[in-house]
Each structure stands twice: as structure tokens, then as C-alpha cells.
Amino acid sequence: MSVRHAMLALLTEGPKYGLRLREEFEARTGEVWPLNVGQVYATLRRLERDGLVESDGTGDEGAQKGFRITAEGEQELARWLRTPPDLSSPPRDELVMKVLVALRVPGTDVPAMIQMHRRYLVELMQQWTRIKEYDARGDLNMLLAVDAELFRLDSVVRWLDAAEARVNRAAADGTIAWADQASPGNQTRTPLPRQRREARRWR
């Protein structure tokens, strides 16, 4: 989320004070990404330094300092809107790392661990869905922002589903092993002989 470009977009509607920019940013993003005042003024300072906005120069960084977008700022905003975000290299995802590492840790019940993460994600999704239920009727900004978060979490749940299926298949083939697939909850188990051998190899 580029706060910098969101500020430029808000200023295309006319000059605004810092405090108002913060309020409008939160309203336009369905209040999904809360912003603190410090972030707003730091961003505006950098935009002014780069010649993308100019201030009326009155007062300090208080609520009464007004900002307007410059011609360079409008060009930068137009360029940014048309530039696809960089999704070319996969992010270093913590959950992916955990599952990959768990396969190597003796005694880890990998399907149980996957289920623990899945439950947490679905609980989060339930919370986001409650926002749609109570607050988002007719508010397009909120619906779009909440949808984005739900689709993101959903993709992680789907990855966990696929990961569990692959891990179970590998276990059935004898490629990997752990103590007991059938009872989630117990994370630490006595390592199987294969896992002890694996553990020695990795020391």
C-alpha cells in the first residue's frame, strides 16, 4: 500500500490539511489500514522535498498546514497508477518457511501444525466477514478493502490445504514420516527412527 501515492490522489481533489488527509485516507480505504499522524506528516514532508506537493508554508506541522499537489505530483500519480506492482519474485512468506522447516524437525506433527494455522486464518476471516455483515453494506471502499484481505487469507488457507494433501501423500509413499497423523494438538512427539536418522543428518 503506497501511502505516498494515496496522499497524492487525495490532493487531486484540491488542497487539504494533514489531519484531513489522514481522515480521508482511512475513510477511502474502508478504515482497513489505520494511519497515525506521524506517518502522514513524514510522508507529506518527503513529497514536498521531492517537489510533488507544496505547502502554504503557514504554521508548523500542525493541523493548520495546508498542502496541494504540483504538476510533477500529478505526473507521478498517473505513472504510478499505470505501473503494475512488483510481484515477479515470491515474498519470503513466514508460514511457508514454517511448514518447510517443520518437515525437517523430528517429532513435529505437520498436519496438526497446518490445521492450527488453518484454524487461526479462518478465525481471522470470520472477523473480516463480520465487518461486511455489520459495517459494509453499501460502502464500496470497505467492501473492496475487506474482499482484498479475505481473498489474501483464503489463498493462504488454500495453500495449506494443498500442502497438507502433498504432505499426506508423501507420508503414504514413505518419503516423510511423523509420529501420528490422526490427532492434532500434540506438537511434540517421540521421533520415528527415520526422523532420528534425518535429524542426525542435519546436525
Partner: protein, 241 residues
């Protein structure tokens, strides 16, 4: 008050080495006004669970109670009456009769139960109106979109005095926006009309409409969500920094 209770329900098919355990000691409660989702991959026992909950199948062991009453010893006729009067079903493929209008599809279960044609039609129109389909009452299923057809199916599942709604992948044939509309309607049927609903799905986004999500694997309930903090907790992080 529990509308549906499954107590340690198991279901197996076949015998000896060919025996398959579709459900193993599954316990589940759906209170009035509550929506429960059961999530699991294909073959995890979701549809068997729903068939048993709706008295379409008997469990091998365990007990099913609907509206507080055990159904095990009820006659076939009594179970059929229960299905017509208390339980509403929603399926992935809508299962509407193609030669009947939306209103006729919705009034059918009431008429089968002996309600007069006029009264059944009034109840059907009321149910369709509640789901925003009043103007589609005289349309046939093939004249409606997938989303509209599923809303007719929900109206049929809610018509009359039904209090338990059982749905099997009700959004499976719909796009995400129409799927969400269907889940919203099921959710509202629980919150506004006091129904209890059990929805089985493999889709986390749809399951997240439920008050409680149970996870089924190989016929067992292995986990369930706990009631979460209010959604406002997601919106207040860092606000006061």
C-alpha cells in the same frame, strides 16, 4: 435451544475388510439462530454428515436429535413429515423442478404436506419476497440466473415453519459475489428468522460467514474455531500511535 444435535454419530458402509468409515464419533450442535459451517476436503464425510442430520440416512451408532427429540425410533412417515415441515435443504445444483415456476417450486413442499394450494402460494410469495424475488415468482428456473435459482432454493428451504436449514456447498456453482449473497441470506435466515443452519463447504470464504467452523478430516471432527473477538479489533490497530 438446540435445533440439531448429533451425539457421537458414526456411519460405516460395507463389512469386514471392505468396511469404510464415513463418519467417526461426530458430535455437533446447532442452536436456534446459529450458523455452523463444516469444512473439509472431498471425501472427508461432509455430505454423509448432512444426510444423517437431515434424517435421509441413519447413523450406524450415535444419536440424532432434531428440536430436542431423538429421531432414531421415528417411523419413516414421521421422518418424512419432519423433513417436510422442519428441515429445509439447499444443494449445490439448486434441485429446482424445471417445469414449475419459482412460486410453484417454493410452495411444493407445503402442498405435499397437505397445505391448501392458496395458502401454500401465499407462503411461497412471502418467502420469495423476503429474498428479493417477488418479481420472479412466475418465472421458470431456466429463465433465471444461477444466483436467482439458488435464492429460490433458499426460499423453498425456508418456507413455512422450517427451523433447520441444511446446505451442501450452496455456493459451489456460483461466482464469488453471488456465492457471498447466498451465504448472507443463510446467515440472515439464522439471525432474523431464528433458524439453525449447517452448511458444508470446502471454501473458507463461505465458511467464514458461520458463527462456528468445524473441520472434518477422514470422518472426524479434528478442530473448530472459537468465537473470535469483535471485528472492531481488526480496525483499531495502531490507531493511537
Amino acid at each position: 435451544m438446540s435445533m440439531l444435535e448429533l451425539r457421537a454419530v458414526s456411519r460405516s458402509y460395507g463389512q469386514g475388510s471392505a468396511e469404510v468409515h464415513a463418519l467417526r464419533e461426530v458430535s455437533l450442535t446447532a442452536d436456534e439462530g446459529a450458523m455452523v459451517a463444516v469444512m473439509g476436503p472431498s471425501g472427508s464425510g461432509k455430505s454423509t454428515l448432512l444426510a444423517i442430520a437431515g434424517t435421509l440416512e441413519d447413523p450406524t451408532t450415535g444419536e440424532v436429535l432434531i428440536d430436542g427429540k431423538p429421531v432414531r425410533n421415528e417411523s419413516r412417515g414421521a421422518k418424512a413429515r419432519l423433513r417436510r415441515r422442519v428441515v429445509g435443504y439447499v444443494f449445490q445444483d439448486f434441485n429446482l423442478l424445471p417445469g414449475l415456476t419459482a412460486a410453484e417450486n417454493v410452495s411444493l413442499p407445503l402442498e405435499l404436506d397437505g397445505v391448501s394450494g392458496r395458502k401454500a402460494r401465499i407462503a411461497a410469495l412471502k418467502a420469495l419476497d423476503r429474498l428479493g424475488l417477488a418479481e420472479r415468482a412466475s418465472h421458470y428456473p431456466d429463465q433465471m440466473s444461477g444466483g436467482e435459482r439458488q435464492r429460490v432454493a433458499i426460499a423453498r428451504a425456508m418456507v413455512g415453519e422450517r427451523r433447520l436449514l441444511l446446505a451442501d456447498e450452496p455456493s459451489g456453482a456460483l461466482d464469488s459475489v453471488n456465492g457471498e449473497a447466498v451465504m448472507r441470506l443463510v446467515h440472515e435466515a439464522c439471525k432474523n428468522a431464528g433458524m439453525a443452519a449447517v452448511v458444508v463447504t470446502h471454501d473458507a470464504q463461505l465458511a467464514s460467514w458461520a458463527d462456528r467452523v468445524m473441520f472434518l478430516r477422514d470422518g472426524r471432527v479434528i478442530d473448530q474455531t472459537v468465537p473470535a473477538a469483535g471485528p472492531e479489533s481488526l480496525l483499531t490497530q495502531d490507531r493511537n500511535q
